[in-house]
């Protein structure tokens, strides 16, 4: 009987020892929030420089975004190695963000072939859905609200296509990613397995 109790305690102890650390996820949100805002502000401030040729603006966004993506993938791999394990939760989050990256690439490629197709509303729409999913999975309300705000904002954007898309980016990404990311970073329970 003692052995049985001991074995149950062993299992419980091991399960308790592997906690989901959400700090790296918050770093991802903060990075993309700041990075996209910086790109948008630069584009907004120097439009003649960024839009000097037909494809320069697209290249500016693609090259910058891919550079950011490589940097964050490297950061995430390094963090995962340091932790030494991958929880089921972080695997699910990783998969849905890979799906978002694939959607982003799909929309960008489509924008090359379709005339008068602006990829920003579609990207923000996908982003809002992924944010809501992430928030629901980790049970963190600021990310859910950020995603809902972005979803409503994208809806408004489609009804008012004349609105400046760079300002849309700044407002959308700040409220959808940067603020929820900061909120998650400073949250006391970023190391909580019960999430």
């Amino acid at each position: 009987m003692n052995n049985i109790k001991k074995h149950i305690e062993t299992i419980a102890g091991v399960i308790k020892s592997t906690k989901e650390n959400l700090k790296p996820l918050s770093i991802n949100f903060i990075f993309w929030g700041i990075f996209v805002n910086a790109l948008s502000i630069f584009h907004y401030s120097f439009p003649s420089l960024v839009q000097s040729t037909k494809y320069s603006a697209i290249l500016y966004w693609i090259i910058s975004s891919i550079t950011g993506l490589i940097f964050m993938v490297y950061y995430n791999i390094k963090t995962r190695k340091n932790i030494g394990y991958e929880t089921h939760l972080s695997r699910v989050i990783k998969i849905i963000w890979i799906v978002f990256s694939v959607s982003w690439i799909y929309v960008i490629i489509l924008s090359f072939f379709l005339e008068n197709f602006n990829p920003v509303p579609s990207i923000l729409f996908f982003l809002s859905l992924i944010l809501i999913m992430t928030g629901l999975i980790i049970k963190f309300n600021p990310i859910i609200f950020g995603g809902i705000f972005l979803l409503l904002f994208t809806f408004y954007l489609n009804l008012n296509p004349g609105i400046n898309l760079l300002l849309v980016n700044i407002v959308g990404v700040s409220l959808g990613m940067l603020l929820p990311g900061l909120s998650l970073f400073y949250s006391k329970s970023t190391n909580n397995s019960d999430r």
Partner: protein, 91 residues
């Protein structure tokens, strides 16, 4: 009938870690099981021989890296073992 393979505390800790996570590195398992490198290698080998776990060996910065994950058989065996423990505790 109790699963003798999982009755060993180190092997039980390994399987419990792998059930709780998608995959675990060798160093993490060493820390969780509180065992030596040699002992852990032996226990991992036994679990692998019975097809309870999968072991992937790669190289990272010229250093060997071992990563483990539980198989479907391992999950079933762990569930059976856990149900057995609960049943015995309640009796």
């Amino acid at each position: 009938m109790i699963d003798k393979l999982l009755f060993n505390p180190i092997r039980l800790k390994i399987i419990s870690s792998l059930i709780n996570n998608s995959n675990c590195d060798f160093n993490f398992l060493k820390e969780v099981t509180d065992s030596t490198q040699g002992n852990l290698s032996i226990q991992l080998k036994k679990l692998k021989q019975e097809n309870y776990i999968e072991i992937e060996k790669t190289f990272c910065n010229n250093y060997p890296k071992t990563s483990c994950r539980v198989t479907d058989k391992g999950k079933i065996k762990f569930e059976e073992f856990f149900n057995y423990l609960i049943k015995m505790k309640n009796e």
